[in-house]
């Protein structure tokens, strides 16, 4: 190694302090000397930009919610009138909280199932080598190529007991949570499988090895070590699944008859009152008339559980692994 080669590059220190420099130069100079400030500035600009662009429509939503529906004409940046009562009306017109509760239950149930099953599959695809891996993965992926409508008719027959195999007719699942959770599971699982496979695949073998030596089975190692270490990925898969189900409309609309139980307590006892959140929201829509303020207020209310979930899940990520101590 010749000592000369490093020199052309270490020029920064050599630069002489010239006397004539205008402001811009000085600024650039400072920026170069202390790029931290520039990054910080860039960072704040970017953060502010993202905040504004993502939050503005929500602000607009709030404006809509606060504007009485009859004054919706030409709402500007400020609500046209001030009618916080919309948030109360939302619950008076419909037992909206029950729709929310229904959706929460469906979403949580589906998320748990998806995470469980997709974890196993993600582990397999992410960490194991076996013949048929690529075709199987592509097969799983291919399911998401199809529009949901492509699944509907057969599933509807299936869940209405119309499919008879060996003299046994398929279970009557229509109007039960299963009629939604099963399709959701199937439709949202490929994404989770891919996410989890990616993250599980990145966990160093050494940690799984250590767990197995300590006496876990491979599955035990998956749930005790690999999954916690992939907390960001798992949380992401969970949040994405949860939100997708929470807002799903197509199947939840066609697999329920739109009834809801009269009370929250009724959810537990009822087999067949499973109308979800979105169905609630569109109930504020008349045949010709849309109660934009109620829809807006309802969606703000409906988004709250998700916001809470996001906070919680992100906390989990943070506590899980912030410092990225993934290193063996």
């Amino acid at each position: 190694m010749s000592a000369s080669a490093d020199t052309p590059l270490d020029t920064e220190e050599e630069e002489e302090e010239g006397p004539r420099r205008n402001v811009l130069q000085r600024w650039t100079r400072r920026a170069i000397e202390n790029p931290g400030n520039v990054y910080r500035a860039m960072f704040y600009v970017a953060a502010a930009f993202f905040m504004v662009t993502t939050l503005f429509p929500f602000y607009w939503l709030l404006v809509l919610a606060l504007t009485p529906n009859r004054f919706i004409y030409h709402v500007g940046l400020l609500p046209n009138g001030f009618n916080p009562a919309a948030f109360i009306e939302v619950f008076q017109v419909l037992p909206f909280h029950i729709y929310v509760a229904n959706s929460l239950i469906l979403a949580i149930g589906t998320t748990v199932i998806v995470l469980l099953i997709a974890s196993l599959a993600g582990y397999v695809f992410g960490r194991l080598e076996f013949p048929g891996r690529a075709p199987l993965m592509l097969g799983v992926l291919a399911i998401s190529y199809f529009p949901p409508a492509a699944f509907l008719l057969p599933l509807f027959s299936l869940f209405n007991g119309n499919i008879v195999l060996f003299g046994v007719s398929s279970p009557e699942l229509y109007n039960t949570p299963w009629a939604m959770m099963l399709p959701f599971t199937a439709l949202f699982m490929p994404l989770s499988i891919f996410i989890l496979a990616t993250f599980y695949g990145q966990i160093p073998d050494g940690l799984e090895d250590a767990a197995r030596i300590e006496g876990t089975t491979r599955i035990g190692a998956l749930f005790r070590v690999i999954m916690p270490l992939s907390a960001p990925g798992v949380a992401t898969a969970g949040v994405l699944t949860f939100i997708s189900v929470y807002n799903e409309f197509f199947f939840s609309f066609l697999m329920t008859d739109g009834l809801i139980p009269a009370t929250l307590a009724g959810i537990a006892s009822s087999q067949n009152h499973w109308a979800p959140l979105v169905q609630g929201i569109i109930q504020y829509q008349g045949q010709y008339q849309k109660f934009y303020n109620l829809m807006a207020a309802a969606s703000i209310v409906g988004v709250l559980p998700v916001a809470i979930l996001v906070v919680v899940a992100q906390e989990k990520i943070v506590s899980g692994l912030t410092q990225g101590a993934l290193k063996e």
Binding site: F50, F130, L277
Partner: protein, 328 residues
């Protein structure tokens, strides 16, 4: 270590084991491939029943004629005729808009879909990556910025549609007039194909950048922070750290996110229907859904399969990339 304990002892375990442990042992003893298949059973089973079987039924439907006048879902067996008619354009008059017509690209399903996919996924990736990078920093109030960034993803499509619909509804929202005055939009953007296309794309980018951000963020959080230490000491600037460490290490996450976003973008439907209409911005899924609701199940099934096939072709780019990164 003292040996006096009578707690379960380690040691090579043999013989006397309950049936459960025996089963567990048998599982552990499976070869890599056997074990892999076993863990895939739940996922594959649910996918087979809830996804593959319906698709198979739908495939059969696509080989039958439409039946508008009977209680049957489909008419007589016609082989591949539906496909032939679709691909030769014979079916176009029956569709909302032509399947493929280069002379009016904004009103032909295939071109609209591809254009939408490329544009929206491009912006979503850029923005999602930017958001993820911001969220990956440590700063006060990060939790709330996170929630803010992710919140759009939690908005049901109905509401997302409502927001953008109203924003661009000249009598209500305030966005049309200025955009119109600078000549960007026509006076009726929501019934103008190009304008609506842009609005739908913006709405989609607004909502689903969060999806990207979430997955990429998880990828970022899984990066071993020590690697940055190494890079810093080696003299890497922030940009170089990003280019050489961050980017390659989150690339798998980005690919997964883009893959699924691309698939979803190619199936875009809900936001079109709620902001504008399938007539104005026809997508492939629009074709499927409208044929479906018009009771043309044979055509709808054909369209669904052709859509899936086109998606498969389009995403093979990712698949190849994925295979390169060793995950397939």
């Amino acid at each position: 270590m003292s040996t006096e304990t009578d707690a379960p002892s380690d040691g090579v375990r043999q013989g006397s084991a309950g049936p459960l442990t025996l089963a567990a042992r048998r599982v552990e003893n499976l070869g890599e491939a056997g074990f892999a298949y076993l863990l895939l059973v739940p996922a594959i089973a649910i996918l087979l029943i809830i996804a593959v079987w319906p698709l198979f039924e739908t495939l059969k439907m696509s080989l039958h004629a439409d039946a508008l006048l009977t209680n049957n879902q489909v008419g007589e067996f016609v082989g591949l005729q539906n496909y032939r008619r679709l691909l030769t354009g014979e079916l176009d008059p029956l569709l909302v808009r032509p399947f493929f017509d280069l002379s009016q690209p904004f009103q032909s399903a295939l071109t609209v879909t591809l254009l939408f996919t490329v544009v929206s996924v491009f912006f979503e990736t850029i923005i999602g990556l930017g958001q993820a990078l911001v969220l990956d920093q440590d700063f006060r109030g990060r939790r709330w910025v996170r929630v803010a960034v992710i919140l759009p993803w939690a908005v049901p499509i109905v509401i997302q549609g409502m927001i953008f619909y109203l924003l661009f509804q000249p009598q209500i929202g305030f966005l049309t007039a200025p955009l119109q005055s600078i000549g960007l939009f026509s006076s009726t953007p929501l019934s103008n194909s190009v304008d609506s296309f842009i609005i739908v794309t913006v709405a989609d980018v607004w909502k689903t950048s969060a999806f990207m951000a979430l997955i990429i963020l998880a990828g970022l959080q899984s990066i071993d922070r020590q690697l940055y230490d190494v890079a810093k000491v080696a003299g890497a600037s922030k940009w170089q750290q990003f280019k050489l460490i961050t980017f390659p290490l989150v690339l798998p996450s980005i690919i997964v996110a883009m893959l699924f976003r691309t698939i979803a973008a190619m199936r875009v439907y809900g936001i079109i229907e709620t902001v504008s209409s399938c007539s104005t911005v026809p997508s492939l899924s629009c074709m499927v859904v409208s044929s479906f609701s018009q009771h043309r199940y044979g055509s709808a099934a054909t369209l669904a399969f052709v859509t899936a096939f086109i998606i498969a072709l389009f995403v093979s780019v990712y698949i190849i990339k994925f295979a390169d990164s060793g995950d397939l």
